[in-house]
């Protein structure tokens, strides 16, 4: 118990002493995750919109694949991406392995199915009368698309937030693709794993508080948007 109290004290001290390394890791994690989420939204929302609103051959198979990808283990993503980015791999010439770009790509791959799938649900939940009303008022294709997205905006934001949640909290691919390099690719999750294994429990706990704070904020925002969307 004394060990825990001591670690807790250390973590509080690190947080309030504005430890440069801790805040650097938190800032880096947020930059990586926000960039990955932004890119995943850029691709995921249009993909989800098309799958959610169009009828085409193979659609149900595609939905099954998308649903399966939501549960993709993070280490598998790390493993596959490692296979492409390592020096002798097809994309080895890009020299991306153990770089922030590789971490962002890994997080992007993890967030994309979440955002795309939740976008499918969001656009399908839009009242069919919205489409009929838009049509009856002479909306063309572009305005119709915009209208559906706007009517689903709270659910879409929730989808993007869920994607961010997945990106910020994953550890497997960031560890494998980023290499957990200090002041370069080290994120909150990889740092927690490393510092705890080194016995620096207080350091890990301080980062854990920040991670919890981010996840808690995401949930509050998620709940708020769900209420607004009703």
């Amino acid at each position: 118990m004394e060990y825990l109290i001591e670690a807790f004290g250390d973590s509080i001290e690190l947080i309030f002493s504005f430890d440069r390394e801790i805040y650097g890791i938190v800032g880096r994690s947020l930059v990586f995750s926000l960039t990955a989420t932004f890119l995943a939204a850029l691709f995921g929302v249009p993909i989800g919109f098309l799958v959610g609103t169009k009828r085409f051959r193979g659609r149900s198979g595609l939905l099954t694949v998308m649903n399966t990808l939501m549960a993709l283990p993070t280490v598998v993503v790390g493993l596959l991406a490692y296979g492409f980015f390592s020096r002798r791999a097809p994309l080895g010439f890009l020299d991306l392995l153990f770089s922030p770009t590789a971490v962002i790509i890994g997080e992007f791959i993890l967030s994309l199915p979440i955002i795309a799938n939740l976008t499918v649900s969001a656009v399908q939940a839009v009242d069919s009368r919205a489409i009929l009303t838009a049509k009856s008022l002479g909306a063309g294709r572009a305005l119709m698309t915009w209208t559906i997205l706007m009517e689903a905006r709270f659910s879409l934001l929730a989808a993007i937030i869920a994607g961010f949640g997945r990106a910020v909290s994953e550890v497997g691919s960031a560890m494998m693709l980023g290499g957990n390099i200090r002041f370069y690719t080290r994120t909150m999750t990889t740092a927690i794993a490393l510092e705890t294994s080194k016995g620096e429990f207080g350091f890990g706990l301080a980062l854990g508080f920040f991670l919890l704070l981010v996840v808690f904020s995401i949930n509050i925002l998620f709940h708020f948007l769900q209420v607004r969307g009703r």
């Binding site: 009242d127 009368r129 919205a130 009929l132 009303t133 838009a134 049509k135 009856s136 008022l137 002479g138 909306a139 063309g140 305005l143 209208t147 706007m150 009517e151 905006r153």
Partner: protein, 342 residues
């Protein structure tokens, strides 16, 4: 123009529509003239909304051709969209976009590429017409059912449509707003000359508002109104064919004897009301009691229980002269030729 010089704005020729293989609409011919109000009446499931959706180009009929201002409407998306933009429709349960009243009323203007600076006056005018001036910044989802219907009408009016389709405009509206809505519909037609096609299951309302009333039954336009609609079977007798409703027998013309129809209707205007039986060529006469009196501004609708429930329409003058009231015993009389098969 038609033969009497009235401009035909929209015309349907041999339009049929099937849903899941079942025929839901069969309109051999229908023309909508500029500046008139049309009331499509019929029970639920009679095809009213399908008819409106086809006329508003929201759905393509299975077969048949539509003409707009004399020109055939083709299937190309661009040309349909252009014609669609000269019309507007409100749904039975209006959908308001999740934004302000102003955002909703501006929607059709945005669709037509009207610049933002030119929208304000049009929005104000449309809201003024429906009596909702001052509600511009209210959240649309906070409105009552009646207010929502009025905003939907204002939204449709803002694009200054040549034809306005109103699907059951008073179906989800509280009593306080029904009269107001009816006045607004008449005013839109009178002030703007907008052609209006509305659906309703309320026949008196259709007659109050419309210049022409089309009864629709099981997807087909029928020659009489939906009142005095009886189900039963056609039977033969030595005196000729009759329709057996299970409660009364109604004499029908000889030519209907081999029809498989299970429904007939009698136009309320074709029924004669008298306090005593009188000698005439009319074969159908039933004694009954008045159970309801409905004042229709100059006309009076009587509901008479005479074995079956009949709706009869007489002038206010006749009503007063005969001293009728609820509970009065009367005779309803009509000819066999007044009976329509459905």
């Amino acid at each position: 123009m038609n033969e009497i010089g009235e401009m035909v704005q929209l015309e349907l020729r041999n339009v049929t529509h099937r849903y899941n293989g079942k025929m839901v609409l069969d309109i051999p011919h229908l023309s909508i003239q500029r500046g008139k109000i049309y009331g499509v009446v019929g029970p639920n499931g009679s095809g009213k909304t399908t008819l409106l959706s086809i006329m508003n180009l929201l759905i393509r009929p299975t077969r048949g051709q539509l003409f707009f201002e004399g020109k055939p409407i083709h299937n190309e998306d661009d040309s349909r969209l252009e014609i669609q933009r000269s019309m507007a429709m409100t749904l039975q349960t209006p959908y308001l976009f999740n934004t302000t009243v102003e955002g909703n009323v501006a929607y059709g203007l945005r669709a037509r590429g009207i610049p933002r600076r030119n929208r304000a006056a049009v929005i104000e005018d449309a809201l003024h017409q429906v009596g909702l001036r001052g509600l511009t910044n209210r959240r649309a989802r906070e409105l009552s059912g009646g207010e929502a219907q009025l905003v939907a009408i204002a939204r449709a009016l803002a694009v200054d449509p040549k034809i306005l389709f109103l699907d059951e405009p008073t179906a989800n509206v509280d009593l306080r707003h029904i009269g107001q809505l009816e006045e607004i519909v008449s005013a839109i037609n009178a002030d703007r000359g907008t052609t209006i096609v509305l659906t309703t299951h309320n026949l008196p309302q259709a007659y109050r508002l419309a210049h022409h009333v089309f009864p629709l039954f099981e997807g087909r336009m029928v020659p009489s109104t939906m009142h005095n609609l009886f189900g039963g079977t056609i039977k033969a007798s030595a005196d000729g064919p009759y329709f057996d409703t299970g409660k009364i027998q109604i004499w029908i013309p000889q030519e209907f004897s081999s029809s498989p129809s299970n429904y007939i209707s009698v136009n309320p205007e074709d029924i004669i009301v008298s306090k005593e039986p009188f000698a005439s060529s009319a074969r159908n006469r039933y004694e009954g009691t008045i159970t309801q009196v409905v004042d229709q501004k100059g006309r009076v609708d009587l509901v008479v229980n005479a074995g079956e429930t009949f709706r009869v329409q007489i002038t206010e003058h006749s009503f007063r002269r005969m001293g009728l009231n609820v509970g009065s015993r009367i005779y309803v009389t009509f000819k066999a030729t007044s009976v329509h098969l459905l």
